[in-house]
Symmetry: C2
Subunit: 196 residues, 2 copies
DNA sequence: TTGCGCCGTGAATCCGGATTCACTACGCTG
DNA sequence: CAGCGTAGTGAATCCGGATTCACGGCGCAA
């Protein structure tokens, strides 16, 4: 007991994620993935119809985790004023990204095959949806001024993403410390949202 | 007089741009580009060391044009209050993008080879620099609250980009009309920047 | 006219990965 | 033990584009 036997499928998924984490999509070739999972290339196809399918699944699991973390943060900040809740939710997103930069970069900005990219789009929309909910609640409560909720949400997600692209980029090793970035981001968010 | 003879090189560049405009990078294969320019594939290599080099050049010329347009808009709005100038500059960016969605999408979001992608990053930074200048001026003039200029600038560029990704996406044909998007964006920008 | 570059040609070739598939190994069941 | 199914193997193959290069014309200068 204790040691769970990981299925081959799972091993392939983690192998892929690890490789992406270390060297981006480029490093995650079928051969490299299989090798890390202790298998031969052909075996991958016993478990996934294609490499792309495997990637999509990795993408989903990681992004799903992020979305979940954001929702949890929102939950936890339940009673705070709307603007603060939004700051907290997006700061959560940013902090998590900064803690695992290479993976975050892969999810946010690195070029990928179109089908995987579609997944990216989808998850951005979901992140935006999380933001939009809180935004709408804040407006309804009279805490925030009326505004185009969907656009503001998209702009916030995009804004945070872009603000992180620099710091996350595998090319630009070290910029300002994470806390500073997050703090500045919170100021930005608070204002953008129309908090007095 | 009047009719300028376009060099073969120029014809290849416009052919590539047109193809990207119509069908994205995927549509711009070496053969398609050469064909549209009225040439054979091999000829492209008499004028560019590689396909990539050609792409980078297209990218630069288009993005350079955008940057120029933004700077001009900033110039023209010279006397307006800082927040308004920023709105105007970014609205210019957005409007131009919305007028040529497929190309804008290719420049802003479509997956490309890393070297071309590097160009994208570089130009985002230049757009951000344009914003940062006005931002800094506004703060110096006491019109805007002090803030992390670079981060705000990046977040604004990213925010506008993301807000446009939906509307621009070749997959999602028609959302709200352009003016509405631009108007909502201006509200967002004004607030994000800290205008009273 | 001959010689020499320059521009252009496009079929043949290269290239880097994904994908296939005939085969082996192992464990289970009748 | 024979039969069968599942998991695994990895060398061979496929694939889609970029890239090469041996081979014309064409115009200019000697």
């Amino acid at each position: 007991m204790g040691t769970v036997a990981f299925s081959t499928r799972e091993r392939l998924l983690t192998a892929a994620q690890e490789l992406i984490e270390e060297g981006g999509y480029g490093a995650a070739s079928v051969i490299a993935i299989a090798e890390r999972a202790g298998l031969a290339a052909g075996t991958l196809y016993r478990h996934f119809a294609s490499k792309e399918e495997l990637f999509v699944e990795v993408f989903r699991s990681v992004c799903g985790r992020e979305e979940h973390a954001m929702r949890q943060a929102a939950q936890a900040a339940g009673s705070a004023p709307a603007a603060q809740r939004l700051e907290i939710v997006l700061a959560t997103f940013a902090q998590r990204a900064l803690r695992n930069p290479r993976l975050a970069w892969a999810l946010i900005a690195e070029p990928v095959d179109p089908r995987v990219d579609a997944e990216r789009l989808a998850y951005r929309a979901r992140y935006a949806a999380v933001i939009a909910e809180d935004l709408a609640a804040g407006i309804a409560a009279g805490e925030l001024p009326p505004q185009n909720v969907d656009l503001t949400a998209a702009a916030l997600v995009g804004g945070c993403g872009e603000a992180l692209v620099g710091p996350l980029s595998p090319l630009a090793p070290d910029g300002p410390p994470a806390e500073e970035i997050v703090a500045a981001l919170r100021t930005f968010i608070g204002r953008a949202v129309g908090a007095r």
